[in-house]
């Protein structure tokens, strides 16, 4: 088989599409951590609102990208097979539950039954968010024309990155609120380590499966920044925050920013520059100069 040729960066999804995955992952991560925080009594409304806003902004960017935005309603029509349809339906569910969760967390509003406290609706919103994020992962992996997206590890990597980004933002929120919890720091550290491992496994798998060279180059360009800014530095800063609790605030804000921005950088590259087409592989070379007769003649 001849080596892949004609592989080129995909020309259909740009930064706007990348923003959908950035917003979906970060928003979901934030909603998950906001729900966990709500259990221990940390106010839900602001992180819940920001989480939903991230998801909504990401979807709005997609709306700006599609060629026929005024018939976007058609996106719901094939949930049997299309992850994009499923993502849209999951988004509707997420926003319906999310609005209830926000209402339950709004001071002075008293909803009936279990919704009188934000904990249950917040947990349901987090679950709906995870469903939405799962659809996004499925959407990327279902794309058979882009080898970098057809590597299975792309799904755990994207999922972990979304949760890590959300944890980073939530840490910043808890610092601003003066409610920083050691357990949250440990969870965030775990996510940082898990994302670094997932990245390493993903990259190794890509090298094994001989993805287009442009994909390798695109990831190689961000490797150092992604690992240092998004993993090593935040891990060191979080460890320092444990050692010097009196200075934990700024250290954690820096760590959270690094984790989050590095995730955004990775997703942008994954969706745009590293997303190269399969190109052409010829299983055989045509033999010329033989006794071939023109098609349609005998």
């Amino acid at each position: 088989m001849t080596p892949d040729s004609r592989s080129q960066p995909q020309r259909f999804w740009d930064t706007r599409a990348a923003c959908n995955f950035i917003g979906g992952g970060t928003g979901t991560g934030l909603l998950v951590f906001a729900a966990v925080g709500a259990i221990v009594g940390i106010p839900y409304f602001v992180p819940g609102l920001v989480g939903l806003a991230f998801v909504g902004l990401g979807l709005m960017m997609v709306w700006f990208e599609i060629g026929k935005p005024w018939r976007a309603i058609n996106v719901f029509f094939r949930p049997q097979t299309s992850w994009m349809s499923r993502e849209s339906l999951a988004a509707v569910l997420l926003f319906l539950i999310g609005v209830v969760a926000l209402a339950s967390a709004w001071p002075g509003v008293r909803l009936p039954w279990a919704m009188s406290s934000p904990v249950v609706p917040a947990l349901l919103t987090a679950l709906a968010g995870l469903g939405f994020l799962s659809c996004q992962l499925g959407m990327v992996y279902a794309v058979r024309g882009i080898p970098a997206w057809r590597e299975r590890m792309v799904m755990p990597l994207l999922g972990l990155s979304g949760l890590a980004e959300g944890s980073g933002l939530y840490l910043i929120f808890t610092v601003l609120l003066g409610r920083l919890l050691p357990s949250m720091l440990i969870i965030a550290l775990g996510l940082i380590i898990a994302r670094a491992l997932a990245w390493q496994i993903y990259r190794t798998a890509l090298d094994r499966s001989h993805v287009p060279q442009l994909t390798v180059v695109a990831f190689e360009r961000i490797r150092k920044v992604f690992l240092l800014m998004g993993h090593v530095l935040p891990a060191v800063l979080i460890a320092a925050a444990f050692l010097r609790p009196e200075q934990a605030g700024p250290l954690v804000v820096l760590a959270g920013t690094g984790v989050t921005v590095a995730g955004w950088l990775f997703k942008h590259v994954l969706i745009t520059r590293a997303a190269c087409t399969r190109g052409v592989s010829l299983p055989a070379i045509p033999v010329r100069g033989g006794s071939a007769t023109p098609i349609g003649t005998s």
Binding site: G67, S291, I295
Partner: protein
């Protein structure tokens, strides 16, 4: 059953792009959109280099990856194997274009013309503004096939019922027909010759066969 497929004899293709031009003329595709194109590929390393001309386009797969990802239902597969796009349903998300391992789908954001801002007479006649902002691709000239079949003609044998690219190929390198008909030209060709299909490992079951040697 009927399964329409295309066969290209790579031993005969001279890379003249006549099929490309015929397709563009018949379908009125804008600049940059080539439903049928012939790739000019260099294979090997100096001094053992070969040049291969590879007609390509939508492979009308048995299991089209574009179909499963399409969220709107715009992409459909007919019973005769032809994969079509309903341009009135497509939302232009281009998930299908990314999902196609053959890079066979296209899209334009705005109407552009071959010679600057003003359309030629031909472009005025052929351009369809409904195709701006949606995914488009080769449809095996499905309207020609349907019209021909309706009048009793046989696609692949009667030019009036055969895709324009096949009709235009003066090298006799392209054939079209029903793979399920054992007497069709394509069935006979594939019975006697060695052939391959592109990206078989993707499990798409492409309906585009490439003859590369005698059996």
């Amino acid at each position: 059953m009927t399964r329409y497929v295309m066969v290209a004899d790579l031993r005969r293709c001279v890379g003249c792009q006549t099929c490309t031009a015929a397709c563009k003329l018949a379908n009125g595709t804008p600049p940059g959109v080539q439903w049928r194109r012939v790739l000019d590929i260099e294979v090997g390393e100096y001094p053992n280099v070969k040049r291969v001309f590879l007609p390509t386009g939508c492979q009308h797969c048995a299991e089209p990856p574009c179909l499963e990802v399409c969220p709107s239902g715009a992409t459909q597969k007919r019973e005769d194997g032809i994969v079509t796009i309903d341009y009135d349903k497509c939302i232009g998300c281009f998930n299908c274009a990314l999902s196609c391992p053959y890079d066979a789908r296209f899209g334009v954001d705005k109407m552009e013309y071959a010679y600057g801002e003003n359309p030629t007479e031909d472009e005025v006649c052929n351009y369809d503004s409904d195709m701006v902002g949606v995914a488009s691709k080769c449809n095996f000239c499905v309207d020609v096939i349907d019209a021909g079949v309706a009048t009793g003609l046989k696609p692949g044998e009667d030019p009036e019922a055969t895709p324009h690219c096949v009709n235009s190929c003066f090298a006799g390198a392209m054939a079209f027909g029903d793979l399920d008909d054992p007497n069709s030209t394509v069935s006979e060709l594939l019975r006697d010759k060695q052939y391959f299909r592109l990206h078989e490992d993707q499990g798409t079951g492409p309906g585009f066969f490439y003859i590369w040697d005698q059996s």
